[in-house]
């Protein structure tokens, strides 16, 4: 039905359906919930101002205050003090509610800031509250939320007013069927501008109200969205963990990845040794032992058998050497010592798929960066050879603009997905340990281009 629409028709259809969409509904709910939450601060401020105002009014214009005034002022000061002490904690609670709302209704997941210090004793508790940075940011959010809550109420007005206006033609006939000649007061019509009410006095006029309502309802989702977008930005900036806390969390995460990665590499080396060179050498020792036994008695020595055993031992030794060499190169390719470009040249030459290599590295990156870049290239080349059925692979390493950009592309079948355990997730993890990033463009049917951005210095 909707698949043969012209772009303009499709746009019109989307615009008409927007007000009844799930997103518009959720954003409206967010605004509705935001109004009472935002007004929380107003309650506190009004209460304190009210008490202060009462004190000023009750006290005589000149001379000393009455005892009632003194008590009220003391209460007010107490209230201010209490508000300040409790501010961060209450704001954190409200912030948590906002975060949950944003997650549920807007799909914006803001991680919670680190919890406040508990503090020791009552004074410590107060001090911890006063020194709670994320808590004060939550307070700041509540302060900014106050005007925002009015804007959210305004957005709700577009919905409510528009919907009410839509109803005019339907009830007009029910209540306005007076005999001709009777003059009735005109009926007010909601407009997007509070305080400026239009008025309708005739039945045809109600269609004007209907048109206005329709316009308001169609526009309401966008008004709401604008306000919600502003709220969302504030929410992310003020209710999430601060920049430093986020950085700490990122570092903790990538450090854990680095540790896991190192452990996994050691495990792999151990496994390769155990299943490879070690078992070869044990077999070699066995063959030599048998050969020695065969030769032990010079009189009865079976030379042909001894030769066969020595041949087997010789074969074992060569295989063990080959396996050890591969393993050593896997731990650290010797060519890397002379530079990433040399190592990549060797890598390209030994690749199963023809490789077109271009290196432009005016300065050498740090060794750790070179190593990571090399392993990315090796893994990506191996992937291209194994999974992509590519006929040609390009490898580019560019270190000219302060970062090392490694790009490995192939003309294969594409469809590389880090979530399906192709080693790409492991690469992304390793790259993230030095604040690098890995991007994959691999549509089904190809081509695949993986780019790795790494800092030159660790």
């Amino acid at each position: 039905m909707g698949d043969r629409l012209t772009p303009a028709a499709a746009w019109a259809r989307a615009a008409l359906l927007e007000p009844v969409g799930r997103r518009a509904r959720n954003e409206l709910l967010f605004c509705l919930a935001g109004i009472p939450l935002g007004l929380c601060l107003l309650v506190v401020v009004l209460w304190l101002m009210g008490v202060a105002g009462a004190v000023l009014l009750l006290s005589p214009p000149s001379g000393s205050m009455s005892w009632v005034g003194v008590v009220a002022l003391a209460l007010d000061l107490l209230g201010v003090g209490l508000a300040v002490v409790l501010a961060t904690r209450v704001a954190r609670r409200l912030g948590a509610v906002h975060r949950r709302l944003a997650a549920r209704l807007l799909g914006t997941r803001v991680p919670a800031p680190p919890p406040p210090d508990r503090g020791r004793g009552r004074l410590g508790w107060v001090a911890a509250g006063l020194g709670d940075g994320p808590g004060w940011r939550a307070v700041a959010y509540q302060v900014v939320k106050l005007p925002l809550a009015f804007l959210e109420a305004y957005a709700v007005l577009w919905w409510a007013g528009g919907l009410v206006n839509l109803t005019y033609p339907f009830w007009w006939g029910l209540f306005r069927n007076h005999p001709p000649g009777v003059t009735l007061d005109p009926v007010p019509v909601a407009t997007p501008f509070p305080g400026r009410l239009l008025q309708v006095a005739t039945f045809p006029g109600t269609f004007g109200a209907l048109a206005l309502g329709l316009g308001m309802v169609l526009a309401a989702p966008w008004v709401t969205r604008a306000v919600v977008a502003a709220d969302r930005r504030l929410l992310v900036a003020l209710l999430g963990p601060g920049r430093l806390a986020r950085r700490v969390r990122d570092l903790e995460h990538t450090r854990a990845l680095a540790v896991d990665d190192a452990a996994a590499q050691l495990r792999r080396v151990e496994r390769d040794l155990h299943d490879g060179a070690q078992i070869r050498l044990a077999t070699l020792a066995m063959h030599l032992g048998l050969a020695r036994e065969t030769l032990a008695d010079p009189g009865a020595a079976d030379v042909a058998r001894a030769r066969e055993l020595v041949d087997a031992a010789h074969r074992d030794a060569k295989q063990a050497l080959g396996e050890l060499r591969d393993l050593a190169r896997g731990i650290h390719p010797p060519a890397l010592d002379t530079g990433l470009d040399n190592a990549l040249t060797t890598l390209a030459a030994t690749s199963a798929v023809p490789v077109e290599l271009a290196c432009d590295l005016p300065e050498r990156p740090d060794p750790a960066i070179e190593t990571i870049a090399y392993y990315c290239a090796a893994e990506l080349l191996a992937n291209a050879a194994k999974h992509s059925h590519a006929g040609r692979v390009t490898v580019q390493a560019d270190g000219r603009h302060g970062t090392l950009v490694l790009e490995v592309g192939d003309d294969g079948v594409g469809g590389a997905d880090p979530d399906r355990g192709s080693g790409l997730a492991g690469l992304a993890q390793r790259v993230s340990t030095v604040d690098g990033r890995l991007r994959i463009a691999s549509p089904r049917g190809g081509p695949t281009l993986v780019s790795v951005h790494l800092p030159l210095r660790t």
Binding site: D275, A282, T283, M286, L290, E293
Partner: protein, 214 residues
Amino acid sequence: MRVVIAEDAAVFREGLVRLLEDRGHEVCAAVGDGEELLAAAAAHRPDVAVVDIRMPPTHTDEGLRAALQLRRDHPGTGVLVFSQYIETRYAARLLQGNAAGVGYLLKDRVADVAEFADALARVAAGGTALDPEVVGQLLGAGRHARGLAALTPREAEVLALMAEGRSNAGIAAALVISAGVVEKHVASIFGKLGLPPAEGDNRRVLAVLRYLES
């Protein structure tokens, strides 16, 4: 002697089969994992099984678990665990309760073909064969044990060889001393450890291990 081999590295497994067949033993089955080992043991009732510890599917300790299972199911079958590593824990689990018909050797030991064959025969006959590394680790782990400190270095050496499962003659040959001197050391060790002298290699090992476990 009828032998079953469980070893996942084909090249080593084939070498073992050949070695044993050359010596006139019958290799009933040579398999690549623990489950096949248990099936082969049930089918062939061998005198002894040679078992690698790390085998598929997880490459951790399935060989050891299969060996323990084998000992429970067929107490008459000797089990020689044959691995590239010696893990004290594994040795302790293997020897728990009963050291009869148990061996734990490093794969390196196969280089001395005659010694390996002797050890296998000992295990098949219900004796014990422990790698010097196993003994060293168990002794190290049990160093705090009361009485060990009283041993002279020579006596400690004799105890270690004893724990490997060697006879007095074997110990004498290994240390290049006379059998009489060995007997004297053994008696002295038993005295210092408070153990009554007993006949048979296996009981000596048992006594030593029991003492070490305490």
